[in-house]
Symmetry: C2
Subunit: 178 residues, 2 copies
């Protein structure tokens, strides 16, 4: 999730780690703050993998910046992760939202629609907490108001996203096959 965000931000142009720290915080920090001890090792890791290159930029700021560029292998990695996302990226909200934030980096509308279709398939499959076998649970079946609320919130959020997904898949399909 963090690596995807780094790749996605670098696709917009080179920056240094400290700026990435701010950008990542603005994207996901509200929900899950990112620590320096997570970010910088991730950068190091990704540089070792050949996805990004580091160039020292002296005199640009108080401390010497190490400007990060997206390498060709990094572009391929980003494309791969967007085009054929990890199953967790489709089920976990945090991951899915970060993926959505960078899905614009896929240039092919058909590929974008395919990703949305997969998320659609995940949302449409019944979650065992909300279903009793095939039968959808009724909120009143939970004795306490908290699980009732959990159920109704999950349904409402799912409905909102489903509507958007279906509409967007349609318009992407129209864009792909004129």
């Amino acid at each position: 999730m963090l690596e995807l965000a780094i790749l996605g931000f670098l696709k917009d142009g080179p920056t240094h780690g400290y700026d990435l720290r701010t950008k990542v915080a603005a994207l996901t920090g509200h929900v899950r703050p990112v620590a320096d001890g997570t970010l910088y090792p991730a950068i190091k890791r990704m540089a070792a993998a050949g996805w990004i290159t580091r160039k020292d930029e002296p005199g640009a700021a108080a401390a010497p910046r190490r400007v990060l560029h997206l390498a060709e292998a990094g572009e391929r990695e980003l494309e791969r992760r967007l085009r054929d996302p990890d199953p967790l990226d489709l089920s976990d909200e945090n991951r899915w939202f970060t993926l959505l934030a960078f899905l614009r980096h896929l240039d092919d509308p058909a590929a974008q629609a395919e990703v949305l279709r997969r998320r659609l398939a995940f949302l449409e499959q019944p979650a065992s907490f909300f279903y009793d076998g095939d039968r959808p649970m009724r909120a009143e079946e939970f004795g306490d108001p908290f699980r009732q609320g959990l159920l109704s919130i999950a349904r409402a959020t799912s409905r909102a996203e489903l509507a958007w997904l279906r509409a967007t898949v349609d318009s992407l399909d129209r864009a792909a096959a004129p």
Copy 2:
């Protein structure tokens, strides 16, 4: 999050690890599957902390079951985690939903309302991805449909939960102060 689920399920009565595995999977497995290599070390860890006790139950099933009981220290730990949740439990959806699923174990309506109020405070504070300073972003300001969708989905889900939270806080307050 896993530990909270284990404590919460054991509050309903003793069970063995394999049954917990199913229950946890039904609760959160749809979004984030739990691996045996996560569950059993967690049980071991929690037993070492004195939160749960293990008793062998021979002959009850194919393989010998180790029945888990919630110890008094475990009850206190559960109460503590529900009454004064970790900040991450209030911001991360996955964690918050599991907490909500067990909030019924707090017997005090005032304490329950207080927890909901904290979640309310989190949801009401502006997320930097959706705000430009103090000004809420308009969806059209994002050039691509994906970040537009992200924004509208986040707003819709937030609205749905906020409405439920406010109504439930009200009714809990009425229950606490008659």
